[in-house]
């Protein structure tokens, strides 16, 4: 594992992109294809199924280090990463991990599968005792989870592209979806004669940047832009190649089996088509809350009941491939025409015009839902008019608008310039901090995860947890506050004196059984620390639930 450890040290030992890329190129040039495949696998955030329970690893490490359990817990609180904590407390050795990365996976990690606890322990201890601190850390990370080394997917793609001389977007696509880290895979990944991409692979998703109110002025004339509703669903690609249909989420999860009604509807599409869109819970012409989709996704078996209760649609807004031809370099206005054409000429024809009207003006109208739809585009003469459209988002039960330049190509990853998401202004409430917990990784040892409460009668009830929104400086001050005002400790969690008021922003409400308030906020984040506001004047469960009309809550709320 020496080469991989030294690659890791190189990547971890610089904050400069160029140096990371050259370290990766050196590494790919040096190691075998078997090792390179595994390295790409881990560095792109993939993981192997956890074969040993974390608690088990911790127990063995505590035994080896001969320290009490509570001391291990104290250490873990400071480090915030189990694999690292274990590596740091084990007695030091002069050993180095002999053998390649693939050898370690195949000869050690894989041998853990199905083995007795005793055998597992023997394998793990043998590995620990025969590796350096860093190699132990890496081994633990292989066992417990994904690597986060400050190397983005795009950086790996860039390094592989430079290493192989193949276009980055092709590499990027070859890395999508499911694949096994075999030498054959790596060979194909960097093969210049590979031809067009693998049949089942989705394209890398093009992501939009958030737009703030004033920035519309920088976008040029409004008529150059298409607006679409920003749906609150699961972003996905619907692929039909070789008469086989696959659905991939943006998280590169294969979802085909989860949405039979979409697959059924897509059967009518012609072959060699890739659509980009949003999977939405949709019933009787109306979008259901996102929570309903989560409920359905959570079910192992899709009973008829759940299919009836929570039907879904694929709301298409882009076409990336037609007749097996990559359309991503075509301007959006052309792709949109192709999308309309492809969907309207599918079997089971449905009039797009009619649908758009229904969708725009009569969202609640009852109709039978075809599971494959086109997300309508809207245009405006001015940004003011655009804003008027955006402000109807709440009524449409969407999060706001997507703004896409008419001439935009379909890019890769999150890029600034041609695709923007323009959300409606968030809801805001005043809450008081009641508890805090230390963060992990980069934020280990600092209190960065907070629980906020609102009034319910004379009682403060938790309503949200939020992590983001404060500056580093503020985090330090909150950290100091927590330490000086701790009222109770429950493991790493500390309750604090409820004196500090924070304004939270959020995008929506959901019923919750986890919070005592009975409500959960969607995407809560800290807007500001309000020194001016006394705790007596913060919001109550009542005032919060009145913020959003009842129709937004799922059944039973």
């Amino acid at each position: 594992m020496k080469d991989f450890a030294s690659l890791f040290a190189d990547l971890d030992g610089t904050t400069k992109t160029n140096e990371k890329v050259s370290a990766l190129k050196r590494y790919f040039g040096k190691v075998s294809k078997s090792e390179a495949a595994w390295a790409v696998y881990f560095l792109t955030g993939r993981r192997i199924k956890q074969l040993v329970k974390s608690g088990q690893l911790a127990r063995w490490a505590v035994d080896e280090a001969q320290i009490p359990d509570w001391l291990f817990d104290d250490c873990y609180d400071m480090v915030g990463d189990l694999g690292e904590t274990i590596a740091l407390i084990l007695p030091s050795t002069d050993a180095h991990a002999e053998g390649s990365l693939d050898y370690w996976i195949e000869e050690k990690v894989h041998k853990l599968r199905g083995a007795s606890e005793l055998t597992q322990k023997a394998i793990v201890l043998e590995a620990w005792n025969n590796s350096s601190d860093l190699e132990r850390f890496l081994f633990n990370k292989l066992l417990t989870g994904a690597f986060r080394v400050g190397v983005s997917q795009q950086l790996i793609v860039k390094a592989l592209a430079e290493f192989s001389g193949i276009e980055a977007r092709i590499i990027s696509q070859r890395l999508m979806g499911d694949w096994n880290p075999t030498p054959e895979f790596f060979e194909k990944l960097i093969d210049t004669d590979g031809g067009s991409a693998d049949l089942s692979r989705p394209y890398p998703f093009y992501l939009a940047f958030p737009l703030t109110e004033n920035e519309t002025l920088l976008l040029g004339p409004a008529p150059n832009w298409f607006a679409e509703w920003k749906w609150d669903g699961i972003r996905a690609q619907l692929i039909k190649r070789n008469n086989e249909i696959t659905i991939w989420s943006r998280g590169e999860e294969l979802l085909t089996d989860r949405f039979p009604e979409i697959v059924e509807e897509a059967a009518g599409l012609k072959d060699g088509v890739v659509l980009d869109g949003e999977i939405l819970p949709f019933k009787e012409g109306d979008v259901l809350p996102f929570q309903m989709l989560q409920k359905r996704i959570g079910r192992k078996n899709l009973s008829k009941k759940i299919l009836d209760e929570i039907p879904v649609v694929f709301m298409a807004y882009d076409i990336l491939e037609e007749d097996s031809k990559d359309l991503r370099d075509e301007p959006l206005r052309v792709r949109r025409e192709r999308l309309d054409h492809v969907l309207s000429t599918r079997d089971k024809v449905e009039s797009q015009q009619e649908f758009m009207q229904l969708q725009l003006f009569a969202p609640c109208m009852t109709q039978l839902s075809p599971a494959l739809r086109v997300s309508p585009t809207m245009q405006a003469h001015s940004w003011e008019e655009m804003k008027t459209i955006r402000d109807t988002a709440s009524a449409m039960k969407v999060e706001g608008l997507m703004l896409k330049h008419r001439e935009s190509k379909y890019g890769t990853g999150r890029q600034k310039g041609f695709w923007w998401k323009w959300k409606v202004d968030p809801f805001t409430i005043d809450t008081v901090m009641v508890a805090a917990q230390p963060g992990h990784g980069k934020r280990a040892g600092l209190f960065t995860d907070y629980t906020f409460a609102v009034w319910q009668g004379n009682e403060l009830v938790p309503i949200a947890k939020a992590y983001s929104g404060l500056t580093d400086e503020e985090i330090k001050r909150v950290d100091a506050f927590v330490r000086e005002n701790t009222t109770g400790r429950y493991g790493p969690l500390r309750t604090v004196k409820p004196t500090q008021v924070f304004e939270l922003a959020f995008d929506g409400l959901q019923a919750s059984t986890r919070h005592k308030s009975g409500i959960a906020l969607r995407f809560p984040r800290i807007l500001r620390w309000r020194f001016d506001k006394p705790v007596a004047e913060i919001d109550s469960v009542d005032s919060v639930s009145k913020l959003i009309p009842q129709t937004h809550y799922p059944n039973g709320f």
Binding site: G13, L71, L88, K442, D479
Partner: protein
């Protein structure tokens, strides 16, 4: 139990029998100073006593005109019937453990200490005592330092690689102690060494104290267009991400501190490299030193006090804490971590409070 030789007061650690303070954080009549770091040596007291090798640095850090006396390591002197001697603590130049003996009772106050070798100061000396007052800056088993050779090699390899790639190497380290230690352990054949003004000032004190340091140019005295390619620049952590670093063009940054043992601490500040080089004892170092003293009782002053106290108690020792205002390894990071440590210490505060409210108040009265 025999009478305590050292108690914790609002002004600092106090020896009632000798009527002197050790590293007080408020102005007192007579202060014995373990070492000249600012959390241990504060201005305003009427008179100071420190080790001979530490006198230059201490004078430089106190107000001009401060009354500073010194005594060589190992030499026993008597203060109000109490026998006092200073012994090397291996922390920084002139750092001492202070041994106090009164009617057969021996206490040692460690100040800050390390057991790793350091060419810029005398090595730690183990002293037998009945009560040992120790620091615990890195009192968790995750803090285990690589050997001196390993760290040396790591730093040299980093510097050499940067030099080969025509880049400057900027290493941030505490300007008193750590900076000089780095200068003296690196391989001078790799390239020239430059220092920040804060380090430069301390280097002069070191030279005045008879410590030989390698040649290092003071960045402030150079022409604006100086070439730093291949050079090593030693600077205090405060200079990190300041405009001052712009002059080095393309450079790799590193931070030398015990806190760098944990990855998250480095990743929080976007620094390229972290070297776990510390002037404090690591977990094993603390335990070894404590055991070697043969002390019946251990009192912990600062750092991760609670875990160390609890661990010592569970292994059959008497242990408690003193609440102090010492900071241990200083840096922005350290402060954040210290806070965690301090918060943990709240649990042991009770020990020191009872003392503070007792005798301490009377002592304060008599000072006025």
């Amino acid at each position: 139990m025999s009478k305590a030789l050292v108690i914790s007061t609002n002004s600092g650690l106090f020896c009632p029998q000798g009527n002197f303070y050790i590293d007080p954080w408020r102005a007192v009549d007579y202060a014995l100073i373990t070492h000249a770091h600012s959390d241990h040596a504060r201005s305003g007291s009427k008179a100071y006593l420190t080790s001979k090798s530490g006198q230059h640095v201490l004078r430089a850090r106190l107000d001009p005109g401060a009354v500073v006396e010194s005594v060589p390591y190992g030499k026993q002197i008597t203060i109000n019937d109490v026998t006092v001697s200073f012994h090397p603590a291996g922390h920084v130049l002139g750092s001492s453990q202070i041994r106090i003996e009164h009617k057969g009772e021996i206490w040692v106050i460690s100040g800050d200490y390390k057991t790793q070798p350091d060419p810029t100061c005398q090595p730690f000396e183990s002293i037998k005592c009945q009560t040992f007052i120790t620091e615990s800056t890195f009192g968790l088993p995750i803090y285990r330092w690589p050997s001196a050779q390993e760290i040396e090699q790591e730093i040299n390899t980093w510097w050499q690689k940067n030099r080969d790639e025509d880049r400057a190497s900027v290493i941030f380290a505490y300007s008193f102690g750590k900076a000089q230690r780095i200068m003296s352990i690196v391989d001078k054949s790799i390239g020239p060494i430059f220092v920040h003004g804060a380090v430069h000032k301390l280097n002069e004190q070191y030279t005045a104290s008879g410590v030989t340091l390698p040649e290092a140019k003071y960045v402030g005295e150079l022409e604006k267009k100086a070439d730093f390619k291949g050079a090593l620049i030693v600077a205090p952590p405060a200079a990190f991400e300041s405009a001052w670093t712009k002059r080095f063009g393309d450079y790799s940054s590193a931070y030398a501190s015990g806190w760098m043992r944990v990855r998250g601490n480095r990743r929080r500040q976007s620094i390229d490299r972290g070297f776990a080089l510390s002037d404090h004892a690591d977990w094993n170092g603390l335990l070894q030193v404590i055991n070697a003293t043969g002390a019946d009782e251990v009192i912990v002053t600062h750092g991760f006090s609670q875990p160390l106290i609890r661990y010592l108690k569970e292994t059959g020792k008497k242990a408690r804490g003193f609440k102090t205002e010492y900071k241990g390894e200083e840096s922005e990071l350290a402060v954040a971590n210290e806070k965690l440590a301090e918060a943990r210490d709240q649990d042991i505060e009770a020990d020191s409070i009872s003392l503070e409210t007792g005798e301490a108040e009377i002592i304060n009265e008599s000072e006025k």
